[in-house]
Subunit: 241 residues, 2 copies
């Protein structure tokens, strides 16, 4: 049974303000909770329907009805279980020997989540975001990662400072007038792939940190590629040998 205060609490976490205040976030659905349970994230509470509890009887949780689940879910089709977990401070790991993704002012949660999933596929450990990027603990971001959220380090920082501190890295900047990536072997060690905002591209003040301007050749008429799509193609180009 879900108390009124629990309902209020979980629903409040849909807003960044309250997530930051409580240092918590929400995870939904069978697959995502399975990944959460395997991760290092500390779980505060799990709300689940009887069907989920039957299959996970060793997990400590609060039984709720389908109707109660609906009242706290952000999904169109709620999926048996919702958890509240503690946010964690991520640290960048081995940037000097890894491929890192840098996101400048990314705004769309679906795009961000898809990029995290792509990073996990390509074994990319770190994503560094400008401080004005969308919150990674936004439920749409988390759901779009399909579980990859728990395996990639996401760090918010001042990108100017990040690039200044890591001036020995090769920085690939995705620009429409960059060098054809099909004619260039991109590296995947000690490199950063810098992607700009969905509509405005890379900020002026970050352009000077780019060591290699790169571009995905265009054969048709679209003005640009979706940012998650472009990031994926460029990650693939870095990883293909």
């Amino acid at each position: 049974m879900l108390s009124i205060s629990q309902k209020k609490y979980v629903n409040s976490l849909k807003q960044k303000k309250f997530r930051t205040q409580c240092n918590c976030f929400v995870v939904e659905g069978i697959k995502m909770i399975e990944e959460l349970l395997q991760s290092d994230y500390e779980i505060e509470s799990i709300f689940a329907t009887s069907s989920w509890i039957e299959n996970n009887n060793s997990v400590d949780c609060i039984e709720i009805s389908e109707k109660e689940l609906n009242s706290i879910s952000s999904l169109k089709t709620p999926n048996e279980v919702i958890a509240v977990a503690k946010q964690m401070d991520s640290q960048l790991i081995d940037v000097s020997s890894e491929l890192t993704i840098a996101l400048d002012k990314i705004q769309d949660p679906g795009n961000f989540g898809t990029i995290i999933r792509t990073a996990d596929w390509f074994g990319i450990k770190n994503i560094v975001c400008s401080e004005d990027s969308v919150d990674a603990y936004n439920s749409k971001v988390i759901q779009a990662t399909m579980g990859s959220f728990f395996r990639v380090n996401i760090v918010y920082t001042n990108l100017n400072e990040f690039f200044s501190k890591n001036s020995d890295l090769t920085v690939y900047g995705a620009l429409l007038d960059g060098e054809n990536v099909y004619k260039k072997q991109l590296k995947h060690k000690g490199t950063v792939l810098l992607m700009g905002n969905e509509s405005k591209g890379i900020s002026e003040d970050l352009i000077s940190y780019i060591t290699d301007r790169v571009s995905i050749p265009k054969f048709g008429n679209a003005e640009s590629l979706n940012i998650a799509t472009a990031t994926a193609i460029l990650c693939s180009e870095c990883k293909r040998v």
Copy 2:
């Protein structure tokens, strides 16, 4: 001024049933209407605020208020103008000498729209979808294409029949156990890239039409890539020489 029946009509087109019945669909926003006006699509009506009309005074349209725009928009942030256009019957063009994308039961409108945008970027003329795929005239599909919708032929058909009729084509099937695409030069003429449903993959009855099982190497731990992401990487692999 927006009449009650106009409001009712535009809102009804959010549902596939009414779109099919009226053979119409809705397009929103400055950029999209600009692309619509340049396309071959027949426009039934345009509803616009005074700010849009000021910049487009040669276009025939009905002036509405911001509030009226809000009452018929599907967007969180309505953008000056909404049009109703007639659906068109698309025809596949030059399949035997082109790269075609085949989508089996694609469900997510955002993914579908992103794939259409990617197709337009890579100069892919045709997308063929199974009949149970999401409706291309869904407003979320149209908006995610960022204007590419008007430049790509989208045809719904029985994919079994399509592959039977086009048995001379090379069919790349994206499968987790396929051949490493980095070690294989994919072709972009007389080829079809077959992508499966977001959660279920390629249908059993279509597997036999695949001539080349292909796969994007995995370096990390994600179970799969987003379908729009995977499609983009594979299109890029076909187009890179």
